[in-house]
């Protein structure tokens, strides 16, 4: 069955989620991945959106993190201060999902600004929940499509900490959560090296070459000794994903 690289990325992200995860969902690819997991192998997964909706089961993917569908299908909806205090900072979230405009080899992310902060070339949306998601969730999954303008050797601005500018900062700051344990791209999957914390390629998606990856990465990426091929999407995975995306498109165009 044919599939796009974006579909591959979403499906790989979905596979990483478990039934007993409590997942802080961002909009876009994370939302698709989390709901795909819920509709396939992880029906009991708990999805939380920062709008305050806990244990939500949307039938279409929300356009925003606060669509009415999220509240209507949630177990309960709490205020936003409570969400950030009791639930995120409270340490209740096992997996936080992040995306971003730019990322470096230690999975630090920039979604704030390109160029100088005071005189920006491009003003990006900013951090939102990301700075605290990055340190208060048990672990972080990141989904981002690769490209030379996105995968940078050095970020102009760190919006959310991955493993820090040298990979050692989490430990030196006493942050106990794991940080980014997976970076899932449209070409491959990275995991942090146990020692250096540099994000290291552990599997390559079907049909992708190491040359292609090199062309789309602003640093010279390292490969794990055990680097393998990512299993292709199954027919069921693709079907469920396309189905929810079709429902979503129809709903938002209405």
């Amino acid at each position: 069955m044919d599939f796009t690289r974006n579909e591959m990325m979403t499906i790989v992200a979905a596979r990483a989620l478990k039934n007993d995860d409590v997942c802080f969902v961002g909009i876009g690819a994370p939302s698709a991945a989390c709901n795909l997991a819920r509709l396939t192998h992880a029906p009991q997964i708990t999805l939380i959106y920062e709008s305050g909706t806990i244990g939500t089961r949307p039938n279409v993917l929300p356009l925003s993190i606060g669509d009415g569908e999220l509240c209507e299908t949630a177990l309960t909806t709490v205020s936003v201060p409570e969400m950030f205090r009791y639930w995120l900072q409270g340490g209740r979230i096992t997996v936080g999902f992040l995306g971003g405009a730019q990322i470096d080899k230690f999975a630090n992310i920039n979604t704030t600004v390109v160029g100088d902060y005071a005189k920006p070339k491009v003003r990006l949306p900013g951090g939102g929940g990301a700075p605290e998601i990055a340190t208060n969730c048990g672990e972080i999954f990141i989904t981002m499509a690769m490209g030379k303008r996105a995968f940078l050797d050095k970020l102009p601005f760190i919006t959310s900490m991955g493993h820090g500018p040298t990979g050692a900062e989490r430990r030196s700051m006493g942050v106990k959560s794991q940080g980014p344990t997976r970076l899932i791209t449209d070409m491959c999957v990275f995991e942090p090296d146990a020692e250096t914390k540099e994000m290291t390629i552990v599997s390559i998606h079907p049909g992708v070459t190491r040359e292609e990856i090199a062309e789309n990465c602003g640093w010279t990426p390292r490969y794990a000794a055990t680097c393998s091929e990512t299993p292709a999407p199954t027919a069921q995975e693709l079907e469920v994903l396309r189905d929810i995306q079709a429902r979503t498109k129809a709903a938002h165009a209405a």
Binding site: T53, S64, Y117, A118, R123, G127
Partner: protein
């Protein structure tokens, strides 16, 4: 003490040039009608506080109402940029816009501290990130028990807090349901408040003992504006107009298209125009 009045009167009485204004509603119940009225009344030099500026502040910024924005995520959710905000920040059009940028957690805590009458909030946040380098308002305290250093933000205490709610009773008690965001906190943290509501009812009938109800003595002006949250939504009344959020990307990209849209849909209209949206997108 709650006082019922038209929206034009409510804005005229409560929002002054140079005020610090917080208009909240987290995706849900965003007080668009009130924003449009502020634009029509030509308010200037406002400091606008909102976690997600969303289209409401994109419109107010593009029309030159604001000198400063206090925020944590400035985009069109699920769509892309808020182009008017970008144009102000990147090019100073129609005027320069100062930014005071926080994280969501810090903004939520700052409202919470305001409601609790504390001068600042404490959070485990801002670790390993660059925002504290560009926002001098982010400071820290040391825990007197553990020695841990934690981030702080000053409490938000807006001059005016504006929200939209599902309904009020005739005494002026206000009910909010669904995604309640920071609205209770904004009302309790602000010096003056305006609440627009979908409906005014004889009996509030909160669905549970623990419903989010703002007693009449905590709110100021109440204005009945049907559909007043469009293109955001009012749970139980009408859905989020996601197609408009998508359409806004094109409308707002270009200054002239934006200005033409604002003239037709805001400057030449009244709050009553919102009622049509409530019907169109009903649940």
């Amino acid at each position: 003490m709650a006082k019922f009045m038209g929206l034009a009167e409510a804005i005229a009485q409560n929002v002054r040039d140079g005020d610090t204004v917080a208009m909240e509603g987290f995706t849900h119940l965003i007080p668009f009608a009130a924003g449009h009225e502020i634009i029509r009344q030509g308010r200037k030099h406002l400091t606008l506080i909102r976690m997600t500026p969303d289209l409401i502040y994109d419109q107010m910024i593009g029309m030159g109402c604001a000198d400063k924005l206090v925020f944590s995520w400035g985009g069109n959710p699920g769509v892309g940029s808020t182009h008017r905000m970008r144009d102000a920040v990147e090019n100073g059009w129609p005027n320069a816009l100062a930014l005071e940028e926080h994280s969501h957690a810090a903004m939520a805590n700052a409202y919470e501290a305001g409601a609790a009458n504390l001068p600042f909030a404490v959070l485990r946040g801002y670790l390993g990130v660059d925002l504290p380098k560009v926002n001098p308002k982010i400071k820290s305290v040391t825990c007197p028990y553990t020695g841990e250093v934690l981030a702080t933000v000053p409490a938000h205490r807006p001059d005016v807090g504006i929200i939209h709610a599902q309904r009020a009773d005739r005494e002026g008690n206000v009910l909010i349901e669904g995604i309640t965001g920071c609205q209770k906190e904004v009302v309790l943290a602000s010096k003056r408040t305006i609440v627009t509501v979908e409906e005014i009812v004889d009996k509030l009938n909160p669905p549970s003992f623990n419903s989010v109800v703002l007693p009449h003595w905590t709110v100021g002006a109440i204005s009945h504006v049907v559909g007043g949250a469009h293109p955001s939504y009012a749970q139980g009344y009408y859905k989020r107009d996601n197609s408009f959020y998508i359409a806004w990307d094109k409308i707002s990209r270009d200054r002239d298209t934006f200005l033409a849209w604002m003239k037709d849909n805001v400057l030449d209209k009244t709050p009553e125009a919102f009622a049509a949206h409530a019907k169109k997108g009903s649940v």
